[in-house]
C-alpha cells in the first residue's frame, strides 16, 4: 500500500513538475513572442505617417495687391493670433496700414525659412514695404508658412502628424503625466497602487468609473489590442507593458504615447496624436498652444467622443477646467493663471473637419495626381510633404460665391431650395495650375466630386472651338465674315432628322461671325461647322485639351459632348494662354518627411494652336462679355477690366455653364441637377452670376490688347466690311491675320475713289 501510495505520489509530483516545466516553456515562448511583437512594433516603422498636403504659401513682396485686412484674414486662416508683443511664432499685431507678424519657420521645398519677425506696410490695397522687424532691413520676398489642408491617410483611417518630445511645450508632457498616470516615472509599466485605487473607486460606484491603466498600458492597448475589456487582454497588456518598460526609456514611451493616442474622430478619419490634435482642434502647431488649450487636449484623451469639444462644449469645458485644476495642484500653473484660464473660451476652430480637412475636392485631385507616381502605401505611410497649387484666397472666393448665389438663384426662380448643385474650377491661364476646386454644394463633404468626375454636356461652351477652327482659315473666314441665321435640317444616316433652333426660337438675319458667337446663335454656328466639317472642329477641341470620346458629328458644334468643369478649364486655358496647352496640375513639389526635396512637378506647356487665330477668337469672346450673353458680368466687374468668356446652356436647360478668363485666371462654373433634369436656367442666368462675382473677388487682371506679330488691326466700316478711315462714323478696329483683311475701301472712306497711294502717283505725274 505504502509503496503504491509513494509511487503514486512520485508519479503525481513528476507529472506536476513536467506540467510546470511544459507550462514554463510555453510561458517563456509566450513571453518571447510578446517581446518580439513589441520590439518590431516599437523599433520598426512605428507609425504609418499619412502624407501631409499643403496649400500654396502666401508670398509677401512690394507691389503685391493685398491690403492689411486681407493679410490679417490670411493670418487668421493660418491660426495666427493677435498679440501686440509678438510673444511667440504665430502671432501678429495689426494697424490700418501696417501689420507686424512673427512668422513661423517652415521647411520649403527649396530650403528652410527661419522664424522671423516681419513688418508689412501697405499703401491702400498694395503692399508698399516688407521689412525685417528686428533689423529694419528691406526684404525682397518672403513666404508665410503654408496652410495644412489635408492628409492622405489609409483606408482604416488613422491620421497623424508626428511630434518629438523635445519640440513640445513642457507643460504638455508634465500635465499629461499628472492627469493620466501620476507615478509614470516611478512604476515599472504596471501600477498596483493605481489598480487598487481604481478598484476601490469602481466598487464604491458599482460600475467602472476609473481605469488603473498606466500610460505604458494605454500605449500597448492602442498599439496592439482592440478595446474589448477581457481578462485575456488585460493579462497580455500587463505583460507587454512590463516588457516594453524593460526595453525603452520613459521618455521614449511617453513620446510614443503622445503620437499614438486617439484624440478625435472626423467621419472615417481617426485623429491620432497630439500633433494632429493641435491642428484638428486649434488650427496651429502644438508648440503654440496656450495652457488652457493644452489642458483641453489632455482632457480629451479620456474620451474623445464623450468630451468632443465641438459636440459637447459644456462637458469639454468642465473636463478642461478639472485638468487645469490638476495642473494648479501639481504646481504646473499658478493659481492666478488657473483663475484666468478657466474663464477662457475653448478656442476650438471650425465645425466639421475642424480646420484640417478643409478642401476635400482639391485633396482628391492631389491624391489622384500622386497615384500616377507613387504607390498607395508610400502616400499613406511615408509622411511625405506635398506642396500643392491651392490658392486659399481663390478657393474661398469660389466657395463663398457658390454658397451665396445658389440659394438666391433658387429663390428667384422658385426652385426647391437645395435642389441645385454646382461645381467650379479656377486655374492659372499660363501654367495650368489648379488654384481652386469646388466639387459640390457641400464644400466640406468628400463625396461625389463634380468638378472632376461629372460628365455633363458642355452646350455652347463648344462654340468657340467651331469659330476658332474657322479663324484658322484666314483665306475663308475672319471676324467680320457674314454668316446666315437661317433654319437648317440635317438627315444623318441612322439618326432622326436634326433641325437645330436658336435658343430664343427666332431668326436674326445675317450675322457677323463674332456677333454670332457673342449672341451664341445656334444656326450660324451649325452652318459654319458644317462648312468646316466636324472632323476639323473636333481636332481643334483636341488641340485645346479635350480628351473625351465624342465622335465627329455635327451635334458637337452645339456641345453634344461631355466634359467635367476641370476639363473645360483646361480647354479654355489653352485659349487664355494664346494657344499653349497646359495639363491641369495640382502639385508643385514633394518632400520627404525629413524635409529633403524628393520630386518637383515642373510646369509643362505646349503650343497646340497658332497664336494669331486664338487672338482673334479671344477678341470675339470679349464681345460675348460686352455685347452678348455675358454682358451681365459687368454689373460686377469694373468696365475697364477686359475679360473673355462664353455661356453654355444645354437642351431643356439641364446644364448652365459659364467659362472665361482674364489675363491669368480661368474660371469655369457649372450649375445643374444631379438627376440631369431641367433647371430652367441658362448659362447666363445660372452660372454667370457666380462666375462674375468670383472674378471680381479674384481682382482678375485685364487681358492685354497687344496683338501678336501675325495679327494686324484694321479700321473697318462694319456695314460694308471694308477699310474705313476717319470719315466713317461708325468705324471699328478689328484684328485680322496679317494679309487677310479687306483691301478695298468702304464707300464712306475718302480713299474710296482711288486706290491706295493714288495721290502719290498723281503728284509725281505718272
Amino acid at each position: 500500500m505504502a509503496v503504491s501510495f509513494r509511487s503514486v505520489k512520485i508519479v503525481a509530483i513528476s507529472a506536476l513538475v513536467l506540467l510546470l516545466s511544459i507550462g514554463g516553456v510555453f510561458f517563456a515562448g509566450y513571453l518571447i513572442k510578446l517581446d518580439r511583437e513589441i520590439r518590431d512594433r516599437f523599433a520598426g516603422a512605428r507609425w504609418a505617417l499619412p502624407a501631409q498636403v499643403y496649400a500654396a504659401p502666401q508670398e509677401l513682396y512690394v507691389g503685391l495687391p493685398l491690403n492689411a485686412r486681407d493679410l490679417v484674414h490670411e493670418l487668421s486662416r493660418l491660426g495666427y493670433r493677435e498679440d501686440a508683443e509678438l510673444g511667440m511664432t504665430g502671432t501678429y499685431s495689426a494697424g490700418a496700414q501696417r501689420v507686424d507678424l512673427y512668422a513661423r519657420a517652415f521647411s520649403f521645398w527649396d530650403g528652410p525659412q527661419p522664424a522671423q519677425k516681419l513688418s508689412v506696410t501697405f499703401s491702400g490695397d498694395i503692399v508698399s514695404a516688407v521689412t525685417d522687424a528686428s533689423s529694419g532691413e528691406a526684404r525682397d520676398i518672403v513666404r508665410l508658412d503654408p496652410m495644412l489642408i489635408g492628409s492622405i491617410y489609409p483606408k482604416q483611417g488613422e491620421d497623424r502628424v508626428l511630434v518629438r518630445l523635445a519640440d513640445l511645450p513642457p507643460l504638455l508632457p508634465k500635465g499629461l503625466v499628472a492627469v493620466e498616470d501620476h507615478d509614470f516615472y516611478s512604476h515599472s509599466g504596471v501600477s498596483l497602487k493605481a489598480i487598487l485605487r481604481a478598484s476601490v473607486a469602481n466598487l464604491r460606484a458599482g460600475h467602472v468609473v476609473q481605469g488603473g491603466s498606466t500610460i505604458t498600458q494605454q500605449l500597448i492597448k492602442n498599439f496592439f489590442l482592440n478595446s474589448r475589456q477581457t481578462w485575456n487582454r488585460k493579462f497580455n497588456e500587463a505583460f507587454m507593458a512590463l516588457l516594453l518598460e524593460s526595453h525603452y526609456s520613459k521618455d521614449e514611451i511617453l513620446e510614443a504615447y503622445l503620437n499614438e493616442v486617439h484624440v478625435g474622430q472626423d467621419g472615417n478619419r481617426a485623429v491620432h496624436g497630439f500633433g494632429l490634435g493641435a491642428q484638428f482642434y486649434f488650427n496651429k502647431p502644438l508648440n503654440e498652444l496656450r495652457p488652457h488649450e493644452i489642458a483641453l487636449l489632455v482632457g480629451i484623451v479620456k474620451g474623445p467622443s464623450y468630451y468632443n469639444p465641438r459636440r459637447n462644449p459644456k462637458r469639454a469645458t468642465e473636463r478642461r477646467n478639472l485638468v487645469l485644476g490638476v495642473f494648479r495642484d501639481e504646481g504646473l500653473i499658478s493659481d492666478a493663471d488657473y483663475q484666468q484660464y478657466v474663464q477662457m473660451p475653448l478656442g476650438v476652430v471650425g465645425g466639421r473637419g475642424g480646420g484640417v480637412e478643409r478642401y476635400p475636392a482639391f485633396v482628391q485631385l492631389v491624391r489622384r495626381q500622386l497615384e500616377a507616381d507613387y504607390k498607395e502605401e508610400d502616400l499613406t505611410n511615408e509622411g511625405l510633404r506635398i506642396f500643392t497649387t491651392l490658392d486659399p484666397r481663390a478657393q474661398e472666393a469660389l466657395e463663398t460665391r457658390v454658397l451665396e448665389q445658389l440659394p438666391l438663384i433658387e429663390k428667384m426662380r422658385k426652385i426647391k431650395p437645395g435642389l441645385l448643385e454646382a461645381a467650379g474650377a479656377i486655374t492659372s491661364a499660363d501654367r495650368g495650375e489648379v488654384l481652386a476646386l469646388v466639387g459640390g454644394r457641400d464644400v466640406r463633404f468628400p463625396g461625389f466630386n463634380r468638378a472632376l468626375d461629372s460628365r455633363r454636356s458642355i452646350g455652347s461652351l463648344a462654340k468657340p472651338f467651331v469659330y476658332l477652327t474657322a479663324l484658322q482659315q484666314p483665306d475663308q473666314y475672319n471676324l467680320e465674315t457674314v454668316l446666315e441665321d437661317e433654319p437648317i435640317e440635317l438627315k444623318l444616316p441612322g439618326a432622326a432628322l436634326w433641325a437645330p433652333k436658336n435658343y430664343d426660337r427666332q431668326l436674326h438675319g445675317p450675322q457677323h461671325l463674332y456677333m454670332a458667337l457673342a449672341q451664341s446663335y445656334n444656326l450660324p454656328t451649325v452652318r459654319l461647322g458644317l462648312a468646316l466639317g466636324p472632323d476639323a472642329v473636333l481636332k481643334t477641341m483636341r488641340a485645346a485639351g479635350y480628351q473625351g470620346e465624342a465622335k465627329a458629328l455635327p451635334s458637337i458644334f452645339l456641345g453634344a459632348l461631355d466634359a467635367s468643369p476641370l476639363q473645360v478649364a483646361q480647354m479654355y486655358g489653352t485659349i487664355a494662354s494664346g494657344g499653349f496647352q497646359a495639363r491641369p496640375s495640382a502639385i508643385r513639389e514633394v518632400q520627404t518627411k525629413e524635409g529633403q526635396p524628393l520630386q518637383r512637378f515642373p510646369l509643362e506647356v505646349k503650343q497646340t494652336i497658332a497664336e494669331g487665330p486664338v487672338y482673334l477668337l479671344t477678341w470675339a469672346m470679349q464681345k460675348v462679355m460686352t455685347l452678348g450673353t455675358g454682358r451681365a458680368a459687368y454689373t460686377q466687374l469694373s468696365p475697364d477690366v477686359v475679360v473673355a468668356g462664353k455661356s453654355g446652356t444645354t437642351d431643356d436647360y439641364r446644364d448652365a455653364w459659364f467659362a472665361g478668363f482674364g489675363a491669368d485666371r480661368v474660371t469655369v462654373i457649372w450649375v445643374g441637377r444631379d438627376d440631369n433634369q431641367s433647371t430652367g436656367l441658362s448659362g447666363s442666368s445660372g452660372a454667370l452670376p457666380i462666375w462674375s462675382r468670383v472674378m471680381k473677388d479674384l481682382h482678375v487682371r485685364s487681358i492685354e490688347p497687344i496683338p501678336p506679330g501675325s495679327v494686324e488691326e484694321i479700321l473697318i466700316d462694319p456695314d460694308s466690311g471694308l477699310r474705313a478711315d476717319e470719315h466713317c462714323y461708325n468705324a471699328v478696329t478689328v484684328p485680322y491675320l496679317r494679309g487677310s483683311g479687306p483691301q478695298d475701301w468702304a464707300p464712306c472712306a475718302a480713299q474710296a475713289e482711288q486706290g491706295p497711294l493714288q495721290w502719290l502717283k498723281d503728284i509725281f505725274g505718272h
Partner: protein, 190 residues
C-alpha cells in the same frame, strides 16, 4: 521748287512709315493732284469707334524701345528670384533654378524674361521638349523683343540639336543669326 522738295521729303517720310505689308497709312491722302502734302488731321467730328481708338499698324518699334534685361520690366521680388535662379544655375542645380523661376512666374505670369530663363533651365536639365516650348512661350509674350528672342532661339537651336533634329536646329540657328544681324545693324546698340 521748294514745295516740290517738301512734297518729296514728306512722301519719303510717309513711305518709311509703311509696314512691309504696306496697307496702312497714318493719314488719309488728300484727293487731287494739287493737294497739299501732309494734310492736317481732318477737322470733321471725330469718328466714334466702338472700341479703343484705332491702332493703325505701327512701324516696327525701334530696338532701343525694347527692354534689354529682366530688371527693366520686373518688380523687385521677381528680380530677386531671378538672381537666386542664376545662382542655382551656376551651382549646377537647374531643377532648383526652374522651381524658383516658376515661383517668379506666379508673381509675373507674362514676364517673358522669366519664361526665357526657364527655357534655359530646362535645357540644362536636358528636358529638351519643354525647353523649346517654354522658349516659344517667351517669344510669344515678348511681342518682337529681339533681345529676348535671340536668346530663346539659341535655346531652341540647342534643344533641337540635342534631340537630333538637325534641320530644325539649323532653322533655329538661322533665326539667331538673323536676329543678331538685326541687333548689330541697329544704331546705338553695343
Amino acid at each position: 521748287m521748294r514745295s516740290k522738295l517738301i512734297v518729296a521729303v514728306a512722301a519719303l517720310v510717309l513711305a518709311a512709315c509703311q509696314t512691309t505689308q504696306g496697307t496702312h497709312q497714318i493719314y488719309p491722302p488728300a484727293s487731287g493732284p494739287q493737294a497739299e502734302p501732309l494734310p492736317p488731321p481732318p477737322a470733321q467730328p471725330e469718328p466714334k469707334p466702338l472700341e479703343a481708338p484705332a491702332v493703325v499698324e505701327p512701324p516696327a518699334p525701334p530696338l532701343a524701345s525694347f527692354p534689354k534685361s529682366a530688371e527693366q520690366i520686373s518688380g523687385s521680388a521677381v528680380t530677386a528670384l531671378m538672381k537666386q535662379a542664376r545662382q542655382y544655375r551656376s551651382a549646377g542645380q537647374p531643377d532648383r533654378a526652374a522651381g524658383v523661376l516658376e515661383r517668379a512666374l506666379r508673381i509675373e505670369p507674362r514676364n517673358y524674361f522669366v519664361w526665357s530663363a526657364l527655357g534655359q533651365a530646362y535645357l540644362a536639365q536636358k528636358n529638351y521638349l519643354q525647353a523649346e516650348s517654354v522658349a516659344q512661350k517667351s517669344n510669344a509674350l515678348a511681342r518682337g523683343n529681339v533681345y529676348v528672342a535671340v536668346e530663346n532661339w539659341k535655346t531652341i537651336a540647342a534643344a533641337r540639336d540635342a534631340r537630333g533634329d538637325a534641320i530644325g536646329a539649323l532653322q533655329a540657328s538661322a533665326q539667331v543669326e538673323a536676329l543678331q544681324a538685326q541687333l548689330s545693324a541697329a544704331p546705338g546698340t553695343p
